[in-house]
């Protein structure tokens, strides 16, 4: 069996379970909110317009954005509950995903509830009044049963949408089948992407068929069909809950952002913990802005960030001190402001660096940015999409008086291709990128220290600050990974042929760096 496929299959129970649980909870919540609202809207003409407009509006927001929007909202709520009740509600993971998906599920259910109730034959409503039903009896005995097929159709639509949409829960830290898709996209592991797509599509089809079974059972008043369908959902929910219980017990939660290096480092940390007999769980594919706040809020326990990112984005600093001073200041600041522990640097940097083909650099005698400054007027710069608007570019331009003949922005993959085929001469690379090895590139030295440092640093959550078991398990990682090893590991995951999974790359990295063997 293909190694990538086997790796995907190994985590299927965890991903699928979380996905099922999230989808079912979201559908249940969405239905619980929209059924009564639909009944109210169908009865009250003035309410109908605003209610349907609200649901339509929620639908027009892209699902990914909706999920992301709930995070800051819940973070604010979490701050409020911490002040008011002394505990913080989780802002990451299950809750934002649940709320966003439930909101998303509302429109089809709401719309079909209104349409279903509207569609009941007026003669039947008159009969219901005439035989002496109260308004409530009419609703439960006549209107809802007759509207049920239409409502059910809405529920089925919502189910399919929600199961598809639940893949977008990954970036806010909720495990789902989306983990396959997001990590697969980052590491260009198409087996993983397809696996995630097929799994979620299959799940949606199965859930739809089960609802169809319940629907037909209800139409034919066949208790067995209803029981079979409902039983299958209950069994799925139970099966999904089982591993969750095992997971929740004191496992360390390791966070990772959404690119290959982060996946590899999360696997590396998990290996070290395992070697010390500690269990761990993963929150992968987190947005760069989300992950630090998740750590500060104790939603995750440890992750690797980069010093320059923390310096500018979290500490809001614009200056560029030397490496040691930066790390010292950062350590003190993080402890004081967020009670976050800067445990140490791993030994490599993932910084912005200017890179050239080795042959071209030698031909032009360029080894440093000072040399580049001299050659730049004849050269074309290729940059990633954000580099030209970042402070790093401004700083480098200023320090070395860089003036290129032309500067073009690319998607990272195409930026490297453009460098290799000679359309550009210099690119803005990340120093630990595996493609620097693969494409035989050199990074140019920065003698004036214009580019900020991006040391990979291990951060610990406030609640783990004094955790000696964790600290001693992570101790061997500090200073253990040099730039060359990290580049190699990144390359092993990113390359097109003989791809390794992040876990395999982490294993090789651990071997090479003399770290624990499982």
């Amino acid at each position: 069996m293909n190694a990538q496929f086997a790796a995907a299959l190994a985590v299927l129970p965890e991903y699928l379970g979380a996905h099922v649980l999230l989808s079912l909870a979201a559908i249940a919540l969405g239905a619980a909110a929209s059924l009564p609202l639909g009944v109210l809207a169908a009865r009250n003409g003035r309410l109908r317009g605003p209610v349907l407009a609200f649901a339509s509006l929620a639908q027009t927001i892209p699902a990914l954005a909706l999920v992301a929007l709930f995070y800051p909202l819940l973070l604010a709520l979490s701050g409020l509950t911490r002040e008011a009740f002394g505990f913080a509600t989780p802002a990451l993971g299950f809750l934002p995903a649940l709320l966003a998906l439930a909101l998303y599920a509302m429109l089809p259910i709401l719309r079909n509830t209104v349409a279903g109730l509207d569609g009941v034959d007026p003669a039947i409503l008159e009969a219901a009044d005439a035989v002496g039903m109260t308004a409530t009896q009419k609703l439960w005995r006549v209107q809802l049963p007759l509207a049920a097929p239409v409502v059910m159709a809405g529920l089925r639509t919502a189910m399919v949408w929600t199961i598809g949409g639940a893949t977008l829960a990954t970036p806010v830290g909720q495990t789902s089948l989306g983990n396959y898709i997001f990590s697969g996209l980052q590491t260009e592991n198409w087996v993983s992407v397809l696996f995630g797509c097929f799994a979620s599509a299959a799940l949606a089809l199965i859930a739809d068929q089960l609802l169809g079974l319940i629907e037909r059972g209800a139409a034919r008043r066949d208790g067995r069909r209803i029981a079979l369908g409902a039983g299958a959902f209950a069994a799925a929910a139970l099966a999904a809950l089982a591993p969750l219980g095992a997971h929740a017990t004191g496992a360390y939660v390791i966070g990772a952002k959404n690119f290959s290096e982060q996946y590899i480092l999360a696997d590396l940390i998990a290996r070290e913990l395992r070697a010390h007999g500690l269990a761990s769980a993963r929150r992968e594919g987190l947005g760069s802005a989300v992950v630090y706040r998740a750590l500060a809020a104790d939603d995750i326990d440890a992750y690797v960030d980069y010093s320059g990112t923390i310096w500018t984005n979290v500490m809001k600093r614009a200056d560029n001190p030397p490496r040691e001073k930066m790390l010292d200041e950062m350590k003190a600041w993080l402890a004081a402001h967020d009670r976050v522990t800067l445990f140490g640097a791993l030994g490599f940097e993932n910084a912005y660096a200017f890179a050239m083909k080795k042959s071209r650099a030698q031909q032009l005698h360029v080894a440093t940015l000072d040399d580049l400054s001299r050659a730049a007027p004849d050269l074309v710069l290729g940059a990633d999409l954000e580099f030209l608007s970042r402070p790093e570019w401004t700083a480098a331009q200023k320090a070395y008086a860089l003036r290129f003949r032309d500067a073009r922005a690319f998607n990272p993959t195409f930026m490297y291709r453009a460098l290799v085929d000679g359309s550009v001469d210099v690119i803005s690379a990340f120093s630990s990128d595996g493609r620097i090895l693969a494409d035989d590139l050199v990074t140019l030295a920065d003698p004036r220290g214009a580019l900020p440092h991006y040391d990979a640093i291990l951060l610990l959550a406030p609640r783990r600050a004094g955790d000696q078991k964790l600290r001693s398990a992570l101790e061997p990682l500090i200073g253990a990974i040099d730039l060359d090893r990290m580049r190699r590991a990144n390359l092993e995951v990113d390359r097109d042929k003989d791809k390794l999974t992040p876990a395999e790359a982490a294993a090789r990295l651990a071997d090479g760096a003399g770290l624990a063997k499982r």
């Binding site: 003669a123 039947i124 008159e126 009969a127 009044d129 005439a130 002496g132 005995r141 007759l146």
Partner: protein
Amino acid sequence: MDAIVELEEVSVIYGPGARPAVDRATLSVARGEFVALVGFSGSGKTSLLKTVNRLVEPASGRVRVEGGDVTSLPAHELRRRIGYVFQGVGLFPHMSVRDNICITPALLGWPKDAMRARAADLMDLVALPQAYLDRAPHELSGGERQRVAIARALAAEPKIVIMDEPFGALDPVTRDALGSAYRALHDRLGLTTLMVTHDAQEAALLAGRIVVMDQASIVADGAPATLIARSAAQGMFAVARRQAERMAALTQTGPAP
């Protein structure tokens, strides 16, 4: 006379500024009477009928049923005491014939056994086979469905039955048969019936008393035989009479060669 339904100066107005659908109508129906309300479309006969079970609320005037004002108890309690049959039939499609028939007894909280027995009796009463009890309404013909609707209206043993064009959607043969069958039930059960119809012939053949409405008002009220001769009802009965005469002429001369 023992009045069981009394309408006193009843007006019905749909919406502000609209012309009254019923304009100060007064009518008293005695226990056991079979009254037909006739009139052209838009004459207000259905609106007047529906004030009896409060499917329509009068803008002014009083409605008394069995001596009490209809507004003295909740509408649903009033309606459970009055049978209602209408052209739309309105059988609940998601319920069996049995559940349809037993709906009002169920709302009244009758014991299960009593409801089963009642359903069986009613099927005999409206001349439908017992096997139909477990069928769905859509499996029945139009005439059979209207019989079920009559059984449903009678299920909770009402003293009063109001009917709005009850046989309007049926073919002439079924219509005649069902009309006669209902009239027999009316007599046998000692019911008081108010029936709206636009068909003067049907009214004349079934009812013991005919009330004619025109432009929101009651314009004539009397026994069919006297009413047919009176000028106020001429318009209503002229068509029926002409048809009857032509039919008679045809049967006398025989078919044309």
